[in-house]
């Protein structure tokens, strides 16, 4: 029976399962021990599993990710936390030049099974250096997989899927999702997870337009769809869930059904994941089914501002999605 729990609790439960199931798994990061992590995600795990396996590290992002790479290629299964996804800028060498490259560069003779968890996104008033959505950076690096779960069930299941994957996975958690609640069926073994990296999910069926979203924009798209329904517009909402690999087939199939496409993400629009989704649709026969131009509802291309109203203006809101959808359908 599913139980109601928060996104953070469902994520913690997945880590607890992995720590229990596989002694090669360890957690490392800044203040993830007694403090419980900046967002409380690892709360209590150090008491259960000890300081050896739930490791507080110095504030050394490059060393934390490099630690994961070195441990992963010698038989461990590291799950490391960047306190904020922005801080991964300090760890780009081990992530981009090392983790992403080693399997290929060394001729397939090594795998790098590691997970880098990182809270991203804005809406918390933390301004430009603690609010970014950097998924496009990572999605652009062959060798990395990029996962952005939107629901408590998915964050649980996708962490387990990331553990089962032999590649380095960047696991981006939106900070505003941590306290959201939903039904979660806890798995008793990682192998029981039904989620697959690279599989999108249709969360709401509709006939008038397709809204492709991920991370925080998934609940916003669902809320917008409710509003649209009361105006007589039936939106199909797809949660992409992972952006590398990207499940473009699910989007194409939906567009063939609805004839309209709206893509939404919080990250800045230029050269973002949305552009890749649109291109992927246009490269297929789904293009022939489009009844209107495609639309993108994305973050403004400015660093995240502090003031509430400024921040709100930069991040796509429910009403922005709703308005853009109406325009698309009524065009």
């Amino acid at each position: 029976m599913p139980e109601t729990m928060t996104y953070a609790a469902a994520l913690r439960a997945a880590m607890r399962l992995l720590l229990s199931q596989d002694e090669r798994v360890f957690l490392a990061g800044e203040d993830i021990g007694v403090y419980g992590g900046a967002f409380g995600v690892t709360d209590g795990l150090v008491a259960e599993f000890g300081e050896e396996r739930v490791r507080d590290t110095p504030i050394s992002e490059e060393a934390i990710v490099g630690l994961a790479v070195g441990a992963a290629i010698t038989g461990m299964r590291p799950i490391v936390e960047m306190q904020f996804s922005d801080f991964v800028a300090n760890a780009m060498d081990p992530l981009v030049n090392q983790a992403a490259k080693l399997h290929f560069m060394y001729g397939g003779n090594v795998t790098v099974p590691m997970i880098v968890r990182a809270p991203g996104g804005g809406g918390t008033g933390a301004a430009a250096q603690h609010s970014q959505s950097l998924e496009a950076w990572f999605a652009h690096v062959p060798g990395l997989k990029v996962v952005l779960p939107a629901t408590p069930q998915d964050v649980h299941d996708l962490l387990l899927a990331a553990y089962l994957d032999p590649n380095p996975v960047v696991f981006l958690e939106h900070k505003l999702l941590y306290k959201t609640e939903g039904p979660v069926e806890l798995r008793s073994r990682a192998e029981d997870t039904p989620a697959r990296i690279g599989e999108a999910k249709v969360l709401r069926e509709g006939t008038d337009l397709t809204i492709a979203a991920y991370s925080i924009m998934t609940p916003r798209a669902l809320e917008a769809a409710d509003g649209l329904a009361s105006a007589g517009i039936e939106a199909e909402v797809i949660d992409l869930r992972t952006v590398q690999p990207l499940d473009i087939d699910t989007v194409r199939a939906s567009v063939k059904k609805t004839g309209r496409l709206l893509v939404t993400h919080e990250a800045p629009q230029p050269v973002g994941v949305g552009a890749e989704v649109v291109a992927g649709v246009c490269e297929s026969d789904a293009l022939d089914y489009l009844l209107a131009p495609v639309a993108r509802v994305c973050g403004q291309p400015v660093p995240m501002p502090y003031a509430r109203e400024l921040e709100r203006a930069v991040i796509p809101q429910v009403e922005d999605v709703e308005a853009a959808a109406k325009e698309l359908v009524n065009a």
């Binding site: 490059e62 060393a63 790479v69 010698t74 060394y106 032999p166």
Partner: protein, 324 residues
């Protein structure tokens, strides 16, 4: 490769063979480069063979190394197969990296060589992670981390020494100070004037060794490895050496004099010095010494000939190859 003691007759034969093999291997590469059969560039360690061998000789089978962009010597001393190395540089499917890595990325993870690395200091956090892994798994294995003097000014150097220091990780940091980070002289690049003294800041031992004396490198590394294996933590070794060749193939040697290079070559060459020592100590006869040279030359020759015959790397294999 099994541990060997370069101060014994059997060890001397093996160490000398490794050092000559490194030199002949790299001289062969120079020739191949001049003939235009290689692609890209390469970084030669000619003149630095004593560091690679002195460290490798001190490691037990199963211990790990991480290497640098100037890593041919490290790989050979750790037991790499010459034919697969040549095959990699000759863009063959039988190369260590199937033609995907080239000179800067020779790795043999199964044999404990966690890889050469094109990023200065890039392997330092990885070595730290591999050492952490040994501690967590209780393997008793040690990681030797090669890096250059230039790497000592990267953040990864400091983060790695700090992390290895607080957690007492079984890693031996080996700085090959070959006097120049590309063109920048080490004394111009190093605040405080000393790399080895930076160990003090992290509460770990630091020792400066003569990097052109394989025996000095071996003895100090052996002590460091034993200490790390006992769980007493990391150590920083600064091996003072010299690179005869340019940084890479684009180097016109504008930052140093021919005299300087000649002085090192004439008075401090690691092979000349070790050969003289081997004879003085009576570890080998001059005939045995000559046999080592010939054996190295022939092994290199055979390897390069075999590598030429191997099939080329195949672009068809690239599909999906970025992921396991």
């Amino acid at each position: 490769m099994p541990k060997r003691d370069p101060t014994t007759p059997d060890g001397a034969r093996r160490s000398l063979l490794v050092m000559w093999t490194i030199r002949r291997f790299e001289e062969a590469l120079e020739e191949l480069f001049a003939r235009g059969v290689l692609h890209g560039t390469m970084h030669l360690s000619i003149g630095q063979e004593a560091v690679a061998e002195g460290v490798a000789a001190a490691l037990d089978e199963g211990d790990f190394i991480t290497s640098t962009h100037r890593g041919h010597g490290h790989a050979i001393a750790h037991g790499a197969d010459l034919e697969r190395m040549f095959a990699e540089l000759l863009m063959k499917d039988t190369g260590y990296c199937r033609g995907r890595g080239g000179s800067m990325h020779i790795a043999d993870v199964a044999a404990g060589n966690l890889g050469a690395n094109g990023i200065v200091a890039g392997s330092m956090t990885i070595a730290t992670g591999a050492a952490f892994s040994q501690m967590m798994q209780g393997t008793g294995k040690v990681v030797a981390c090669f890096f250059g003097d230039g790497a000592a000014n990267e953040g990864a150097f400091h983060e790695s020494l700090n992390l290895a220091g607080i957690w007492s990780l079984p890693v031996v940091f080996v700085c090959e100070n070959n006097q120049y980070g590309m063109s920048m002289a080490v004394d111009k690049a190093t605040a405080g004037g000393s790399i080895v003294r930076r160990a003090d800041a992290y509460g770990i031992p630091g020792v400066r060794v003569d990097g052109n004396d394989v025996v000095d490198v071996f003895r100090n590394t052996s002590e460091a490895v034993a200490r790390a294996r006992r769980g007493e933590g990391p150590i920083l070794i600064e091996a003072v050496t010299y690179r005869y060749r340019g940084h890479s193939k684009s180097d016109r040697n504008l930052y140093r004099t021919v005299d300087e290079i000649e002085q090192w070559r004439k008075s401090r060459d690691p092979l000349d010095r070790y050969e003289a020592r081997v004879i003085d100590e009576g570890w080998l006869t001059s005939d045995q010494l000559e046999e080592c040279r010939i054996e190295a030359r022939d092994a290199v020759r055979r390897a390069v000939e075999a590598a030429f015959r191997a099939p080329d790397a195949d672009p068809a294999d690239l599909v999906g190859a970025a992921y396991a």
